[in-house]
Symmetry: C2
Subunit: 336 residues, 2 copies
Amino acid sequence: MTKKKNREIILAKRPEGMPREDDFRLIETEMPECKDGMVLVKTLYLSVDPYMRGRMNGVKTYISPFELDKTITGGIVGEVVETRSPDLKAGDIVTANLGWRDYNAADSREVRKIDPGPAPVSTALGILGMPGLTAYFGLLDIGKPSSGETVVVSGAAGAVGTLVGQIAKIKGCRVVGIAGSDVKTKYLIHELGFDAAINYKTTADIKKALKDTCPNGVDIYFDNVGGDISDAIMPLLNFKARVVLCGQISQYNMNKPEQGPRVQPYLLVKSALMKGFIVMDYADRSEEGIRQLAQWISQKKLKYTEHVVEGLENAPKAFIGLFTGENLGKQIVKVS
Amino acid sequence: MTKKKNREIILAKRPEGMPREDDFRLIETEMPECKDGMVLVKTLYLSVDPYMRGRMNGVKTYISPFELDKTITGGIVGEVVETRSPDLKAGDIVTANLGWRDYNAADSREVRKIDPGPAPVSTALGILGMPGLTAYFGLLDIGKPSSGETVVVSGAAGAVGTLVGQIAKIKGCRVVGIAGSDVKTKYLIHELGFDAAINYKTTADIKKALKDTCPNGVDIYFDNVGGDISDAIMPLLNFKARVVLCGQISQYNMNKPEQGPRVQPYLLVKSALMKGFIVMDYADRSEEGIRQLAQWISQKKLKYTEHVVEGLENAPKAFIGLFTGENLGKQIVKVS
């Protein structure tokens, strides 16, 4: 009997600008050993997320960079297939930050068992995981929406944007989404209940489109994108507006910060706030967030969408697709 | 007996770029009539403040623009010389937002009597007035300094900057000021107790100077200036840093927002906050602020400096001087 092999994806080169498939490499390795206190986890789904682009540069930000020739790590949902921990049994479904591998051996304290009841287990990577909590805390804690206010979301058809818009609707806001295709803008309006949506790729005058769709100005701008789209919103900010900086996907493949019109004069005259955050800032409140998001799902107030690519070998392609606008909703990779 | 004449300064032209003296005109007018419920106020001091530049453009921001050929208005300290109100008597010293005139007639409800006891009455335009409250609320409510944190102040030798640095010292912070002359930087260090000060006009590498003087990074940046100086600070922001946008004096004479490196990526990776404000946002707490500032003065914890120009006719020159760095501390005009 031949010993079973494992596969994993390593960072072969640091991407320059837009990542390419040959920045990654799929390699065969030995199966990891499940030592005392550990579990062997078979990957069911892995998550590709825009923030991972930052880790591919050799620079520490709020998180350490990926190392060259080492496994890419990220959010995983998997099944325990072997256990040497009393905390977990074979068959348990867990989520953790693990390698892009078919199988990971992990300390049982580093994985979290998930309840397969309320929603498909893959949602632990989306609405009931990091993107869900990002939308929840970013919008509610920084944006602080009030009924009747106008909320604009960029990257509106992505994992976070789709949820931000829906939560803003739950809070009684007027919601305008900005996305990159008509399929997406129609989805936002007709499926998710956004009040309006702008296809930035086909709209000649974004400023005018924003003025038309935000007749009372903008109270909250939830920014996943940055760049020109954000520039167009600054002049529309209302007094005491809040700009929630969640992502800057338009900038991630640049070598240094782009030049743009300064935002400070706009923020100054409107007593407006701009605040960056990462979901880890709210680690101690994640249970609250998951509970509320799960309740909204069960009450049918919140819909979620997953965009699934099959096969570990296609994870790099799925990751790159985040930057070319391939995904509608949460992009995940089905591994097994 | 010839009837006494009044003088006032009107906005003759809307400045283009840097204001010039011929954008203003001194004219003679009749003495205003002190009607029922009003007081006649002889101007002792008038205030010139950077925010007034914005009012000289024909655009409404948080405040309406000055009208062409109409009197410039701003903070005034004056003496009641005639009264038709039971609230005030002749000889009372008052402060109000009134015209740049020798004499103003004002509704008694629009003026506030000041106690000439604790400090010279001119301080109602500075440390015990708008600039004092601006420093107090901007630093404490938005900056939220903690002992041991590093605070950088631009426009450090101005009316607001001098107070921000001293209040930050009271709160136990390391304070670095940025100003435009060696006289100013020496004053900040030797008179006001700043830990370090940078002369941006003579320092070739501001980034390096900031790194050297802020070895633990920057927790609070109190920004009166904007532009290149602010750009140099962004890469030094610490996790959860706060950027208090108080002024952008480097930008006020520009016709449209200047281009600069985008700030969003810096704010994002540091979960940092940038917030604009105006002192009016704290109108309901101004008594608290004045009380605390007066207490710090009496405890000798807070020093103030006034830069006095004499004569109503020199008010435009004093105003223009704000943009060329003439003033150390609060710029006021002694009218009578």
